[in-house]
């Protein structure tokens, strides 16, 4: 190749490279925020290096010495401010005229009777505010839609005096809080980063003066991304369309403890609680122990679970009968009082996959859909299917019925025979005797890809507790194993 040819070749190669790279940007979808106020999540360590956030945060007076690093900042907080910022993502609400940061905080003497958020914000005119919102729930229960929760209780607000010599609180005339809400599926809930259509709602709260200007709040619902809120009370709707928040208004998208893992993932408490409830029963524990001893067999075994329709009490599980048409398989009826089943798969070395099949997902859907709940609203988190294999005992649960039923009814994913090609393709790439981690990931990837609103859980060896198995948000090219998050 002479010099001239080389030159041409290099030029062409460079041109081709540039062209190819310039035309490859349309494989990615932007998850754009269409709402008027944008919610994002950031870690404290990320934010503290942001000049704007740092200046705002440092406006809060300290009791003692100042900090120099992010780590010191957090560890020294208890001394400096009487509280510590919990290491979960901070919610950043960005409107046209202000930015607010909501942080979950905890104290040394923290009890379960309340949880608190520190909210700091600055508007376009450089007006800064910092408040502590104390949420005293009468009841916090999980809401299935959006992996969230309902809140019934009261809220107190204490305004922190800024730019003074020492940490302390100050009175305020403005005893309202503006929540960033999301109205996805028409169910009111607090907005999270996944919310595409935000709106605001102004609530009256108890001020630190002790003058009650707001009543109890009830019936609110938590939202995307793991936040929670309350609604109702004496507060009225405010805000509405538009991303300009009224002056002096404290803006927040609350964060509750327990729903957000240190990895920033949402933990749906209710399915976890329901699983614990299930295995707290001695008869169920015995059934699962019995199945543990049968994982080496070449046929399925299992128990069916019913719930007394009058009392709501779980009956003792009943051993499943073998399917007369296929003795390797058990009968797992749906309808009537059936709410779930415990089962095994035949041994891996016979080619059976040691993880839930598409048929198992279909069972969970049908048992939930066909359960006769005497016309009462269904709590979809109670339906279950467990799978005991030599590697352990797992469960699948519905976390979001709207998503789950939509995905299960999607004829583009499922053919008319009710086979889920996406899952079958993944499993067929593996040897059934492979490490179970791969199969867990296959199932979780399918849940994620098809937005199924379902969760995978794993029991500990003595069935005294469960963990939720989730995809690792910090997965790398070298390690993308799923992680287990305790169901507390």
């Amino acid at each position: 190749m002479n010099r001239k040819t080389k030159k041409i070749f290099l030029t062409l190669a460079l041109a081709s490279l540039l062209l190819v790279s310039s035309c490859q940007n349309d494989y990615y979808e932007e998850n754009g925020q269409q709402g008027t106020v944008k919610i994002t999540e950031k870690r404290f360590d990320e934010l503290i290096v942001n000049i704007k956030f740092r200046a705002l945060f440092e406006a809060i007076p300290k009791k003692k010495h100042s900090f120099s690093t992010a780590l010191q900042a957090r560890t020294a907080m208890e001394d400096q401010y009487d509280f510590t910022i919990v290491d979960v993502p901070i919610k950043v609400a960005t409107a046209d005229n202000l930015t607010s940061y909501t942080m979950l905080i905890t104290r040394e003497d923290q009890s379960n009777s309340y949880f608190e958020n520190l909210v700091i914000q600055e508007d376009v005119d450089n007006n800064k505010q910092a408040v502590i919102l104390k949420y005293k729930p009468i009841e916090v229960s999980e809401e299935i839609a959006h992996d969230s929760f309902d809140f019934t209780g009261t809220i107190e607000m204490q305004k922190i005096a800024l730019n003074t010599n020492s940490f302390g609180y100050t009175g305020t005339d403005v005893c309202t809080v503006t929540w960033i809400m999301c109205d996805k599926y028409g169910t009111e809930h607090v907005a999270g980063p996944r919310c595409t259509q935000t709106y605001t709602k102004t609530m009256k709260v108890f001020c630190d003066t002790g003058t009650p200007t707001g009543g109890n709040n009830s019936g609110g619902s938590g939202g995307d991304g793991g936040a929670g809120s309350s609604s109702g009370g004496s507060g009225g709707d405010g805000g509405g369309p538009g991303s300009v928040i009224p002056d002096e208004e404290v803006v927040t998208s609350p964060i509750t403890p327990g729903l957000v893992s240190p990895n920033g993932q949402v933990i749906a408490k209710k399915p976890c609680q329901e699983l614990n409830k299930l295995t707290n029963l001695a008869a169920n524990k015995a059934a699962l122990n019995n199945l543990k001893a049968k994982t080496g067999l070449d046929k399925e075994n299992g128990y069916n679970q019913t719930k007394n329709p009058l009392t709501g009490i779980l009956n003792s599980p009943v051993q499943c009968q073998a399917n007369p048409a296929n003795p390797n398989e058990i009968l797992m009826p749906t309808g009537l009082a059936f709410i779930g089943a415990f089962h095994t798969h035949p041994i891996d070395s016979d080619g059976w996959v040691p993880m839930f099949s598409d048929g198992d997902l279909l069972y969970l859907f049908m048992v939930a859909q066909r359960h006769n709940n005497n016309g009462q609203p269904k709590d979809y988190s109670e339906y279950f299917l467990t799978l005991t294999v030599p590697e352990g005992t797992f469960a699948i649960k519905i976390k979001d019925w709207v998503k789950f039923s939509k995905a299960m009814n999607n004829t583009k994913y499922w053919n008319s025979k009710k086979e889920l090609t996406a899952l079958r393709r993944k499993y067929d790439n593996r040897v059934p005797t492979d490490n179970i981690i791969g199969f867990k990931k296959d199932l979780l990837d399918t849940f994620k890809d098809l937005d199924m609103g379902a969760g995978l859980y794993e029991a500990n060896t003595d069935f005294s507790g469960w963990t939720e198995v989730t995809l690792n948000p910090n997965a790398t090219l070298f390690n993308d194993d799923p992680i287990n998050i305790p169901c507390n």
């Binding site: 041409i8 190819v20 035309c23 494989y27 070395s349 086979e419 079958r424 993944k426 067929d428 098809l450």
Partner: protein, 217 residues
């Protein structure tokens, strides 16, 4: 020289900006994950099954006919992409009586979309990479792959939940080209419903579950 270079670059711009359909192996991991991609049978695995195959046992017989349907559009709700399929039709005769015959449908081109090719009674679904996967192939080397298909029957088309595996292995027996078929049930009794979603007790197709060895015609 400059003019030639410019012309070549212009051609490249046109080609590369039009070629927005990257090609991936349909049977590798990552299937369906890239918008507008073409999940192609790059290793031409489907080719070995194309044609007519026959099993006979006394007055019972099973005839299978396979054809390829390439670049079918899958307008999935999450990602839209193209993929290659193998489609099949069959004739089953039991005790001299024809139970099912869909062979004539093999030449029907139902259309370019997934919902169209699904009208065929046998449709490729996945590539089983290892012999140890259900249904196990005892006689296969550990890494021998097989094509898993989904099976249907015209009279049972509206019945939901009759999940199954129809797995193909092409092999040579003393120089004769043969096809082994494993037809196994994934039906969960109690999870089979009619078109109106009423549970029905159907646990088999006209073609019995089992293994069949067919010869290339």
């Amino acid at each position: 020289m400059k003019k030639i270079l410019l012309a070549i670059i212009l051609v490249l711009v046109t080609i590369s900006c039009k070629a927005q359909t990257p090609i991936f192996d349909t049977y590798q991991s990552g299937y369906g994950s890239v918008e507008n991609a073409y999940y192609k049978d790059v290793n031409q695995l489907h080719d070995q099954y194309v044609g007519t195959w026959l099993f006979t046992n006394g007055s019972n017989s099973l005839k299978l006919v396979f054809q390829k349907r390439n670049m079918i559009y899958n307008d999935n709700d999450i990602k839209n992409f193209y993929e290659d399929f193998l489609v099949g039709e069959y004739q089953y005769i039991e005790n001299g009586i024809e139970k099912v015959n869909t062979i004539s449908a093999i030449n029907v081109n139902y259309g370019p979309n997934l919902e169209d090719v699904r009208k065929h009674n046998i449709l490729s679904q996945s590539w089983i990479k290892y012999a140890g996967t259900r249904p196990k192939c005892i006689e296969c080397p550990a890494n021998e792959g097989r094509l898993a298909m989904s099976f249907d029957e015209p009279s049972k088309r509206d019945i939901k939940g009759m999940a199954n595996r129809f797995v193909l292995r092409r092999f040579f027996d003393n120089g004769v080209e043969k096809l082994k078929v494993w037809f196994v049930s994934d039906i969960k009794q109690g999870l089979v419903f009619d078109a109106n979603d009423n549970p029905i007790d159907v646990s088999r197709f006209s073609l019995p579950f089992g293994t069949y060895v067919l010869t290339k015609q």
